[in-house]
C-alpha cells in the first residue's frame, strides 16, 4: 500500500471510537455522582470490548487493515490511525482483559455506594480507563509522535496505580518506575526528533517507503529501542518492575504486568519489523535476543527464590518478557519470504497473548489468596486448596501456561519458537527456552505443592470472597489454556496489512 493511496476504510471510525470512548469515560467519571463511578467505568469498558471485537472482525472480514485519516488530512501532513492484523488481535486481547479486570475490581478499594467519593476507587477507575485508551492508541497509531503521546498517557496512568496504597514502599516503587519510564520517554523522543530531521515525516507507512539504510535511521531506532526497553523492563533494566508490580493492588498489578509492559514492547516490534530495512538488524536482533535470554534465566531464578507470592509472580513477568525478545533473532533469521509468515513470529505473538491472560489471572488469584488467608507468604499456603479451590484451580491453569505444558497457550508459543530455532539451526535459543520452562516449572510447583497439601490444623478463611471475582480470574486462566488449541502453524491473521519489506 502506498501512502498516496491511503484513505479512510469502511469501519475506520471504530479506531477513532476506540481511542475516544475511554477518554469520554474518564471525563464522565469526574462529573458523575460518587456512587455512579463504578458502573460508568464498567459500561465504558464494555463498550470498549465491543469496539475492539468489532475491529478484529472487520479486519478479518476485509482481509485488509482498517485506516482512518484524522481530520481528513493525508499523512505526512496529518495523522492516520491504522490497525493491521496483529494490532487488531492485541486490541481485542486488551479489551477482554480490561473488562474482566473491571468485574474483578468491582466493589474494591473501599468503594462505598452510599458514602462520599473516595480516593482509591476514583484513582483506580480513572487510570484503568486511561490505560485502555492509551493502549488502543498504541495499537492503532501510525505516527511516531502520536505514539509518543500514547506512551505518555500510558505512563501517567500506570504510575499512580503502583502507589495506590499510599504506603512508603509503594511510593518509592512508583517513583523509581517514573524515573525509568521518563528516561525511556526522553530517549524515544530523541529518536523521533532525529527521524523527523532526516525524513521530514513521522508516519510509519510513508517512512517505510522512503527510508534507506542511513545512519540517522539506525541511530533513531537504537535510541527509541533503548527507551522502550526501559519501559518494557527487559533485563538488565528490569529493576523497577518487581517492587512496582508486587506493591500495587492485585487488580492493578494484573493490568500492569499483563498489558502495560506489552504496549512499549509492541512499539519495538513496529520499529524493528516495519521501519528497519531488512538485513540491517541481524546484530541488533541477536543482541535483543541475548538480553531476552538473560531475562528468562535471571528472572526465573529470582522468582524461584521469592518468599512472597506477588513478588514471585512479578519476577516471573521479567522472565516471560524475555521470551518475547527471542522473536527478534528468530523472525529476522527465518528463511520465509516475509518474517510475519514465520513460525517464530506466530510463536512470539502467542506468547504475548498467553502471558497476558495467564499473568492477569495469576495476579488476581494472588489477590484472592491474600484476602482468603491474610498474607501471601508461600510457606503458609498449606491447605489453600480446600480453602479456596477455585483460586487454586486458577493458579494451576495459569501456571500450566507459564510453564509451557500442553495443552496451553504457553505451550503452543514455546513449541513454535522451539521449532523455529531448531529449524534455523540456532539451537542455543532452544536451550534457553527449555531451561526457562524447567525453571518456571520449579517456581509454579513451589506455589502449588503446599497449596495442595493437607494442613496440620484445619485452616480458616478470613474473608468471604464474591464468587464472581473468583470466576473472573478463572475465566482468564481458561482463555490462556484455550489459546493452546489454536493450530500450530503460522497464523494468517497476523500477516494482514503488515508493511511489506522491500529492499531499497
Amino acid at each position: 500500500m502506498t501512502a498516496a493511496l491511503m484513505a479512510t476504510t469502511p469501519g475506520g471510525l471504530l479506531l477513532v471510537l476506540a481511542v475516544v470512548v475511554p477518554v469520554i469515560g474518564i471525563l464522565a467519571l469526574w462529573l458523575v455522582r460518587a456512587r455512579d463511578i463504578e458502573w460508568v467505568a464498567i459500561a465504558t469498558l464494555a463498550v470498549n470490548l465491543f469496539l475492539s471485537l468489532a475491529t478484529l472482525q472487520a479486519v478479518r472480514a476485509s482481509d485488509a487493515p482498517l485506516v482512518y485519516l484524522v481530520g481528513g488530512w493525508l499523512p505526512p501532513l496529518g495523522l492516520a490511525l491504522r490497525v493491521d492484523g496483529i494490532a487488531a488481535v492485541l486490541m481485542a486481547m486488551t479489551g477482554a482483559i480490561v473488562a474482566v479486570t473491571a468485574l474483578y475490581a468491582r466493589g474494591q478499594f473501599g468503594f462505598d455506594p452510599q458514602g462520599p467519593e473516595r480516593r482509591r476507587p476514583m484513582v483506580f477507575w480513572t487510570m484503568l480507563l486511561a490505560i485502555t485508551g492509551a493502549l488502543n492508541l498504541i495499537f492503532a497509531g501510525e505516527d511516531l509522535f502520536n505514539l509518543y503521546v500514547a506512551l505518555e498517557l500510558l505512563t501517567f496512568a500506570a504510575v499512580p496505580l503502583v502507589s495506590l496504597d499510599g504506603s512508603r514502599d509503594t511510593l518509592e516503587a512508583a517513583l523509581r518506575y517514573l524515573v525509568f519510564a521518563l528516561a525511556g520517554s526522553v530517549l524515544y523522543l530523541l529518536g523521533v526528533a532525529v527521524i523527523y530531521g532526516a525524513y521530514g515525516t513521522l508516519d510509519l507507512v510513508v517512512l517505510s517507503e522512503i527510508r534507506g539504510a542511513e545512519g540517522a535511521l539506525l541511530l533513531a531506532i537504537a535510541l527509541m529501542t533503548a527507551g522502550l526497553i526501559a519501559k518494557t523492563a527487559l533485563f538488565p533494566l528490569h529493576l523497577w518492575l518487581p517492587p512496582a508490580h508486587a506493591g500495587a493492588p492485585a487488580a492493578a498489578s494484573a493490568i500492569l504486568s499483563a498489558l502495560v509492559v506489552k504496549g512499549s514492547f509492541f512499539l519495538i516490534l513496529r520499529l524493528w519489523f516495519d521501519l528497519l530495512p531488512p538485513g540491517l538488524g541481524t546484530i541488533g536482533a541477536n543482541g535483543l535476543g541475548l538480553l531476552g535470554a538473560g531475562a528468562v534465566i535471571v528472572g526465573s531464578v529470582l522468582a524461584l527464590r521469592q518468599a512472597r507470592l506477588k513478588l514471585l509472580v512479578a519476577y516471573s513477568t521479567v522472565a516471560q518478557i524475555g521470551y518475547l525478545f527471542l522473536i527478534f533473532p528468530l523472525a529476522t533469521g527465518s528463511e520465509a519470504a516475509s518474517p510475519f509468515a514465520s513460525l517464530a513470529w506466530t510463536g512470539g505473538v502467542l506468547q504475548l497473548l498467553a502471558h497476558a491472560f495467564a499473568k492477569a489471572a495469576m495476579f488476581m488469584a494472588a489477590g484472592l489468596v491474600y484476602e482468603a488467608i491474610g498474607h501471601d507468604r508461600i510457606d503458609g499456603f498449606r491447605g489453600l486448596g480446600r480453602l479456596a479451590p477455585i483460586t487454586v484451580l486458577t493458579m494451576t491453569l495459569a501456571g500450566l501456561s507459564l510453564m509451557g505444558l500442553p495443552p496451553s497457550g504457553g505451550f503452543s508459543a514455546k513449541w513454535l519458537m522451539l521449532s523455529a530455532s531448531l529449524g534455523e539451526g540456532a539451537w542455543w535459543w532452544a536451550v534457553v527456552i527449555l531451561a526457562g520452562g524447567l525453571l518456571a516449572a520449579g517456581y509454579v510447583f513451589r506455589i502449588l505443592m503446599p497449596a495442595f497439601s493437607t494442613p496440620d490444623a484445619p485452616a480458616e478463611r478470613l474473608h468471604p470472597v464474591a464468587l464472581t471475582r473468583e470466576l473472573a480470574a478463572l475465566s482468564l486462566a481458561v482463555i490462556a489454556i484455550l489459546i493452546g488449541f489454536l493450530p500450530l502453524s503460522p497464523w494468517p491473521l497476523l500477516a494482514i496489512g503488515r508493511l511489506i519489506q522491500v529492499s531499497p
Binding site: L27, L69, V70, G71, L79, M127, F156, L223
Partner: protein, 312 residues
C-alpha cells in the same frame, strides 16, 4: 559574525549552567540554577527564531517549574544523599557522551537537504482561517495530538492528586505562607495580577496569527492564580467541587464535541467545516485556555492536605 558571538555566548552559558545545576548538592541552589537555565534556554530558542517555543520556555521555565520545584523542596526533609559509586558515574557519563556524539554526527554530517513539511503546512493553512502555521499544526493537522496532550496534562494533575492522604480527598491544597513577613506581597499581587491577566489573554489572542497561543497564555494565567494564592489573596479550591471539575474538563469536552461534530458536518473526526473553521478553533482555544490554566495552577498547588469540612 556578531550574531555568532551572541549564539556562542548563549550556548556556552547554557551548557555551563546545566553542568553546574547537575553537580550542585544543595537543593535550593540547584533550583536557582534551573531557573537560570530556563532563562538562557529562552534566549537560545529566541535566537533560533523558534518564537513559539521561546515563549513556552519563558512561561513554563521562568514561572511554573521553578515554583513546582521550590514547593517540592519545602516538603522534602534534608537527607544526606550518598554519592553514587565512581564506576556508575563514569558509566553514565560515557553513555551520555556516546549518545551526544552520535546525535552530533547525525546532525552535523552533510546530508541531503532534509525534507520538511513547512511548505505543505502553509499551503493548506488558508482552509483553517489561521495565520500562524504552528497554530495550524496544533489545531488542524495534528489536532489529535493536541487533544490527547490536554488529556495527558489532566491525568498528570490526577496523578498528583492520587498522592492525597485518604482523609483529605475532596479537600483543598494548602499554600501556607507566613503572612506576617510579607507586607508588600498582597499589594503587589493586587497590582500585578490584573496586568498579568491582560497579558495572558493577549498572548492567547495573538496566537492565531503570530507566535503565542493557548498553552503559553494559560501558563501566564496560571502563574497569576498561583501568585494570588501565594500572596494570601485567595485559597486553592477544594478538589471535590463539581464546578472545579467541570472547569478542568471543559477544554477536552469542547474539543471532543467539536471533533465529533466534524464527522457528520465535515466528513472526519476533528475536521472543521470550512466556513466555521476559525470561530470553532477559537472556541476550542478559549475553553482549553481556561482548563489548562486551572490544571497548571492546581498542579503547582499540589495534592490536597486540608481535610474537607475541618475548617470553614
Amino acid at each position: 559574525m556578531l550574531g555568532l558571538a551572541l549564539d556562542l555566548l548563549i550556548a556556552a552559558l547554557v551548557i555551563g549552567v546545566a553542568l553546574w545545576t547537575v553537580r550542585t548538592r544543595d537543593d535550593f541552589a540547584a533550583i536557582v540554577g534551573f531557573v537560570a537555565y530556563g532563562l538562557l534556554l529562552t534566549l537560545a530558542w529566541a535566537r533560533l527564531a523558534a518564537y513559539d517555543v521561546a515563549l513556552t520556555e519563558a512561561a513554563i521555565g521562568g514561572g511554573v517549574t521553578g515554583v513546582i520545584l521550590l514547593r517540592a523542596s519545602i516538603r522534602l526533609k534534608p537527607v544526606a544523599t550518598a554519592r553514587k559509586p565512581i564506576g556508575a558515574r563514569i558509566l553514565v557519563g560515557l553513555l551520555c557522551a556516546a549518545i551526544s556524539a552520535a546525535l552530533a554526527a547525525v546532525v552535523l554530517l552533510p546530508m541531503t537537504p532534509a525534507p520538511s513539511l513547512a511548505i505543505e503546512v502553509r499551503t493548506h493553512l488558508a482552509s483553517t482561517g489561521l495565520g500562524n502555521p504552528i497554530a495550524g499544526v496544533l489545531m488542524a493537522y495534528r489536532a489529535l495530538d493536541t487533544f490527547l496532550e490536554t488529556v495527558v496534562v489532566l491525568l498528570a494533575l490526577f496523578g498528583v492528586w492520587s498522592l492525597t492522604p485518604d482523609a483529605a480527598w475532596g479537600g483543598r491544597p494548602a499554600m501556607a505562607v507566613p503572612a506576617a513577613a510579607f507586607g508588600p506581597l498582597p499589594l503587589f499581587g493586587r497590582l500585578l495580577i490584573p496586568v498579568g491577566i491582560v497579558i495572558g489573554v493577549y498572548i492567547v489572542w495573538v496566537g492565531a496569527d503570530a507566535p503565542g497561543g493557548k498553552f503559553q497564555g494559560a501558563t501566564i494565567l496560571a502563574a497569576m492564580w498561583i501568585l494570588a494564592m501565594m500572596a494570601g489573596l485567595t485559597q486553592a479550591p477544594s478538589i471535590g467541587r463539581w464546578r472545579l471539575r467541570l472547569l478542568l474538563a471543559a477544554g477536552p469536552i469542547v474539543f471532543l464535541a467539536i471533533g465529533l461534530a466534524g464527522i457528520p458536518l465535515a466528513g472526519a473526526f476533528l475536521a472543521y467545516p470550512e466556513a466555521l473553521a476559525k470561530p470553532l478553533i477559537l472556541l476550542i482555544e478559549v475553553a482549553l485556555t481556561l482548563s489548562i490554566a486551572a490544571t497548571l495552577g492546581l498542579l503547582v498547588a499540589g495534592p490536597p492536605d486540608v481535610t474537607p469540612g475541618v475548617e470553614p
